[in-house]
Amino acid sequence: MALFGKKKHTSVKVRKRDIPDGLWIKCPSCSEMVFKQELEAALNVCPRCEYHFPFARQARLALLSEAGSFEEWDAGLTSVDVLTFTGTATYTAKLKENQQETGCRDAITCGRARLGRHVIALGVMDFEFLGASMGAVVGEKVARLVERGTVERLPVLIACTSGGARMYEGLYSLMQMAKTSAALARHAAARLPYIPVLTHPTTAGVMASFATLGDVIIAEPGALIGFAGPRVIKETTQQELPAGFQSAEFLLKHGLLDMVVPRKELKSQLILLLDYLMPPPPAEPLPAPAAASTP
């Protein structure tokens, strides 16, 4: 219920435009001024306090695949205004605005990539696009990613984020939860690993479907993770929320995650996990024993 939308909950979101364009950036956590280039070199993690700034889609793709190995799948999928939804603006106008802002068609990019020695099916969600809300395109692309991963016997990795449902697509949006979970049931039955990485924020329908169905579930430090948004919970219960409620660390403590992994260790940790979960590469053929060749 009350899957919240985008652009409203300042506690949940930090938009790119909130990051000043200058050479220096003020860290919202430690208030230090950080040199922009230094921040980018550190994968958008504050060198002083380890605060994890938002990480752009392309940067995330680059982090989670070996250079030049990413091959995009299903790039041609575009959302349509199936309900002719008009709120304060039409859905078509919202889509266009977000496409122009992000340069992408929708809130997820999927494809095949190499990570270490592993070929993986990789999905990266993008909060910049309509709060990474899940409509039919996100649901379809995740389902295809997982299905293709099953056919090609690939592990699936998805960097998740989402602020809520794609309200403009009504109940179609909700049904993407079922669709993606169904695809994962088959991937799991094929005994292939699936690892979601929960980034800030991961909530609502995405959280109550594919983000939570991992064999191993990883979160980034400080990420807000939950089903209902904190504001909704506060309004419903009229209770003060516990300190750190719905943070990655809070979930770890409550036993809901496998690990919280800093961004700079994410790649090596994922490779290590895949090394454990995927069959080892075929061993080098042994040289023929010398004794056998003697007459």
Binding site: G76, S79, V80, L171, A178, A185
Partner: protein, 336 residues
């Protein structure tokens, strides 16, 4: 009839009051008022027909939430016999917002699971206004597994504003409870019939809402977000819920057209609360028809069709890969 009337039901309530007055007058004065009574009843029927022929989506939401509307356990009483309720998730507690148990529908032994609302304050506190905690969904999962093990069809009756958004809900991982249910409901090789009988509140409804058939009562609604919640986000004003209800396309007629519901179960004129008996009888007959059909389908085929059914939900455009260059975006190049 109604001790409670929705705003648009008021003319009906007024006519009903007059009808009772006339009847009382006839009795007291020993006057034959039969002709007047008959005329009055015709007038009531016409008025009801007129009102219900043009309900707006927001009014339909009001009917779905009507305090007199039959709730899931009312249907269990009307449609099933020998109901044996089974309790608890075996981990934390017995969530009363979701009930389940073994029952007979006609000659069929089934598992029936439903979300339950309360009739009064005490009842609502017991069932948390029909909003389940994680343990409710985990109880449902346990009972579905039990059903699959013993080859019993699963019938779910859904009427919930949504899963409960609370601190403990999050701590016990409501998202996981729903997600796991979604995945597992695609693995039970028994017929699964879903009926939205009142409110289909988002993930809380879908959490027991995957099946081979999804039926909707005529004045039920099923939505990804409550109209009030949608209005608060899009219009910054909850009183725009009527606009949101229309925009979201949440009525049975809309969802049938969108192929998200398979069949509309007709309600008695004036809504299910006017004649719960008849409502139960209608739903029972329709459930039996689907159950008979589904029992003919081999288990593997059943799972295959269920997958295909939900896999097909969603509308999008697709350009051929070659034409799928990124949309133009000034200054969108991002530093990796």
């Amino acid at each position: 009839m109604a001790a409670y009337a929705l705003p648009f039901e008021k003319p009906l309530a007024e006519l009903n009051r007059k009808l009772e007055e006339l009847r009382g007058f006839g009795r007291k004065q020993n006057v034959d008022v039969a002709a007047d009574l008959a005329q009055m009843e015709r007038k009531i029927a016409e008025t009801r027909e007129k009102i219900f022929a043009q309900l707006t989506p927001w009014q339909i939401v009001q009917v779905a939430r009507h305090p007199l509307r039959p709730y899931a356990l009312d249907y269990v009483r009307e449609m099933f016999v020998d109901f044996s309720e089974l309790h608890g998730d075996r981990i934390h507690r017995d969530d009363r917002a979701i009930f389940g148990g073994l029952a007979k529908l006609g000659e069929h032994r089934v598992m029936v699971i439903g979300t339950q609302k309360g009739r009064d304050t005490k009842g609502n506190l017991e069932v948390n206004f029909g909003c389940a905690y994680p343990e409710g969904y985990r109880k449902a999962l346990r009972l579905m597994r039990l059903a699959a093990k013993f080859n019993l069809p699963i019938i779910t009756l859904i009427d919930t504003p949504g899963a409960y958004p609370g601190i403990e809900s999050e701590e016990r991982h409501i998202a996981e409870a729903i997600a796991v249910n979604l995945r597992e409901m695609f693995t039970f090789a028994v017929p699964m019939l879903v009926t939205i009988i009142g409110e289909g509140g988002s993930g809380g409804a879908l959490g027991i809402g995957v099946g081979d058939r999804v039926l909707m009562l005529q004045y039920a609604y099923y939505s990804v977000i409550s109209p009030e919640g949608c209005a608060a986000i899009l219009w910054k004003n909850r009183s725009y819920a009527d606009r949101a209800a229309a925009a979201l396309k949440i009525t049975s007629r809309d969802l049938l057209a969108m192929k998200l519901a398979d069949e509309i179960v007709p309600e008695p004129l004036g809504g299910a609360h006017v004649d719960p008996r008849q409502m139960g009888a209608t739903l029972k007959q329709i459930l039996l028809r689907h159950l008979l059909e589904l029992k003919q389908v081999p288990p593997d085929e059943l799972l295959e069709r269920r997958y295909a059914k939900f896999r097909a939900m969603g509308v999008f455009a697709e350009q051929p890969a070659a034409a799928a260059a990124p949309v133009a975006a000034p200054g969108a190049a991002v530093q990796p």
